[in-house]
Symmetry: D2
Subunit: 336 residues, 4 copies
């Protein structure tokens, strides 16, 4: 059995990783840790105030530590379900120890000068690791993932935006002068478990945020190599992302071209489901590790719909999928 | 006191109209009617199975009738909160009797040959009334409303789409080659009170519908005189519309131009509220008769956000506002 | 025009009071204040981050102050929508200045030695005001309210519990050996606007809390003069209280006795609505100032159902109702 | 591999059974059937209009049939996820063919004369099967289940009520003169997938129903051998049951007695989880096959809280658990 450490295990993605690992036949949990000043330190992850869902399933304590020397001994795999700056600071330590690191934050996703200064508010100190990091969009980078030591797992919006668009762009079906308009709506869990007025039950309401200013816009554009207009919205639901993507195809492109492009890249990918007719609803994927994609073409206007569970294909399930790929396990082990 | 008849009073818009009229100092309810085969016939509108909210407020019976001859005697005003084809059939009767008719359906909104055949599935029989009907987008057509006998009150999506876009287009700020992309999400009440799997509590989920095929797309394009891409979505909430509109301005247009255009048309309009910074959330207007509008401009990309309560500014409140305008009452009487 | 000060105007009840006062023909807002260290200080109450619903309706600033000497000059009425201990500390100041004070906290509701020490964690310093305070259960204490200077407005659970039970107990219909079992479920707004994990959108779930230990249990028992078992629950909705009360009637009591008792006390009370058959749902009162009551009797078992909007009849509307009674206005002015 | 037929597979419980069977290593799906006039006939269960969640997981068609002769050939196991009267009519057919039948309806749960006439509106025709049926409350009747041919799986309310109360009553801890007061709130899925105004998204609201008149009251009382007051409520959520049970213990009973009784019967039962302190929330069990139980004792008043997912431990998971017990598989196979 390989041994995996989950750093930031009290968050939504971290707890989900713990659940997945509890069912994994080839990997077991080495330890669950939380930040040094966490009020959850010492509690079981299945405690009443945390994840009672896990009672009897994962009853391990959350260890508060900033010193991993006693824990790291037998750890093969590290999941960083931490804030961006924490991942940035911690990842090199685990990498230098030889661990395979799956980072769920944005700290190693975009290899551009000034990107972190501009969008994340810190100056990146580990250019060599940024160079080596593999972007964990699992359906596209599986070969690179197999040989990577550091996998930067993309989050919810970038996954929901790229999976439908990447086949279109790769196959040259879109008119690049018309920037795709990506309107996405996310469940409240996307903002994490920390209490704030923004996620107060009575304050949550449908609204757009970070217009023209969300850090996922440049991440999406960078990995698609295509400018986009990305408008995130908060929805009044717990989990899930629904993305509506409006774009313009090149003259002569027909619906079969779209479907063929999707099938070309996803036909044998178990966690992407293509709708030949109709298109998915959010409920199709709640609690499930899939990204579902549908589309309609009219004249040269194309609307693509993609949905995923933001905590699963948009976070923990994709990290687990990357781990399965990295170690040669079945891609969906513990996921379905 | 003027006397108003509400036809279709058991629906969400009809019941809301009844509530508004109960508070109106110059207009009173003549009768509430429902279709002949309604199971609600004879019940009080405030019955336990209907609108217990109205208990002690409006305790009138719902009269099932297809013969209005005994009712019409003293009626000055008719609200048709009915299916499109019912409004189409009934409106001329009331108009011929001299009533002022406010139709909340789509039956008289678009004066185009073939429009009703193509989008509503019936052939329009009353071209002369279609010619005379005034489109009740209250902030724009108040002068025409004052002299109209038939007011075709626009519904939720068209109101949420047109109120932000109309000043832009009227002032010539948009590049018409780039069709505005209107993504709107509506509460479930938008589909009415009739039970169906689509509004089953456990089946409702965020999803797009009628891609490139919704009848409100040509209505919006007709009244804006601008092609648009309109994508409606169903949301998991009861009331409200949130619209995110992405468009392209002409070169040189700056944010002040946008704000000036909004202020020019809405500064003195009490039911449209302009956000100078930030932009509205759905909760800003739930249960309220306003349409709230905000925007952000970046380079030549403009995103406008508009929100309204689909049953109020998107239906009953706008109908009441039109009535107030028509009879010279204060525009907001009984509404705020 | 009388002038009213709202202390704690940034909370849910305070903002609702501001809305009611904006519509009141005989009372106007003197000032809105918040606690000294509030992040909301200086913002308009209708600010985007606060109550954009009030934009154009109440656009007054929230004044942070601990010194009311400059504000109190022309103030006739004070609403304390504040934490219990804040009300306890502030009320005497305003009372000594001659203001009529409506306290929405629990600081003056129960005139029992040790009650505040035991249930609220502070020792009450103002026994003489506790003696003079009138409990603002409006339907029962209207005569006393008319002459009171300090009205302790009961909150959501006590109102929902007492309004149905008080006629039963007053008329001697219940077997007192069987303690009424009061199961009530409250919307999340009942816990206020302060962010915490307990009201995090993703953490909210149906659950019972404070079993046998809620401070409203002794308040209810004290004012009913009857021991009760009170079990509060949190629900996954924003507003409202639904109470299911199971009790035992004395031998020979029949359904007509129950209905007669309810009618005896509430027939002429506009904000209590009695169901002769059926019983109310939560939706009957959302956003409305009523308490609705229904019941079923079988043999000697009686179940009563009462519902109210926790922020209205359970807080702001009842405070406003008390104010209307105190000053001889129509009981429902600005409320319906 | 054993072969299982699911009758009524288009309902919520039936679809869940199909999902469970898709993961079961020792049992496979023989066929999925629906009633003869179903609009879903011929569709895949994973169709867009049905359960797109199952796309790629269970892509079998729903067969509309009233003649099972061609299907029954190789069927070992039959799940009846059907209306009560349909189960009543169909079960004997499958039993006579030698199948092991798990009936999720109420048709064979209570072996009392007149019970079905009074509470279900039909006269029971199969007294000999009623005599042989084993009540599938899995934690209590496992020995009988192992040898049964017909297992009458209890539904959501009876399971949530009996699991906490049965140890109390069996150990003689309660004062039987005080009928336990069972207040339970159920998600909307409890009423099934058929569209009606009662489950219209905009009509759903917290409310009590069937006061003193729900058919589960006598079922609970019969199997507990104790009169109870059972008050069901509808909640504004999709899945889950939360039960609050207020009862009276005999003099001298202490908290340890309660805990010991729970542990005595459930310590080795993997699908019942006991809270030693605190008590469960609904979210503890959403999507999970557990019944979670907690309690607080004060003096001689005992409040027990139990929660379960109404479609899982309250339906499909308990049926699957019974199947596992019946055939000697691990009790939780395919469930956790």
């Amino acid at each position: 059995m390989l041994k995996a450490l989950i750093v930031g295990a009290s968050g939504y993605a971290g707890a989900q990783l713990a659940y997945y690992l509890s069912k994994h036949p080839q990997v077991e949990i080495a330890a669950l840790t939380v930040s040094g000043n966490s009020l959850d330190a010492g509690k079981l992850i299945s405690d009443y105030d945390l994840y009672p869902q896990l009672k009897g399933v994962v009853d391990l304590p959350l260890i508060a530590t900033s010193d991993y020397s006693s824990i790291i001994e037998n750890v093969d795999i590290v999941f960083l379900a931490t804030e961006h700056v924490v991942s940035h600071d911690l990842a090199p330590y685990f990498l230098d120890k030889g661990c395979i690191v799956f980072d769920l934050s944005g700290a190693f996703r975009v290899n551009l000068a000034d990107f972190y200064t501009q969008y994340y508010g810190f100056t990146h100190q580990y250019k060599h690791w940024l160079d080596k990091a593999v972007y964990g969009l699992a359906e596209w980078n599986d070969n690179a993932i197999k040989n990577a030591q550091l996998i930067a797992v993309p989050g919810c919006y970038p996954t929901a935006a790229q999976l439908p668009l990447k086949p279109m762009i790769t196959e040259g079906l879109l008119d690049p002068a018309y920037w795709p308009v990506i309107n996405a709506i996310s469940g409240v869990s996307g903002a994490g478990r920390k209490a704030s007025l923004k996620n107060h039950f009575c304050e949550v309401s449908i609204h757009a945020y970070s217009l023209f200013a969300h850090r996922h816009q440049p991440e999406i554009a960078y990995h698609l190599d295509q400018q986009v207009i990305f408008t995130p919205h908060l929805g009044n639901f717990k989990r899930g992302i629904h993305a509506t993507i409006t774009c313009r195809v090149k003259q002569g492109v027909i619906a079969d071209d779209i479907l063929n492009a999707l099938n070309k890249y996803y036909k044998n990918k178990p966690l992407v489901r293509i709708y030949q007719k109709d298109w998915p609803s959010l409920k199709s994927v709640e609690g499930l590790p899939y990204c579902d994609i549908g589309f309609v073409l009219k004249d040269d206007h194309l609307i693509m719909i993609s949905v995923e569970d933001n905590l699963l294909k948009g976070a923990a399930a994709q990290a687990m999928q990357c781990m399965n790929i990295r170690f040669g396990f079945n891609e969906t082990t513990s996921l379905i």
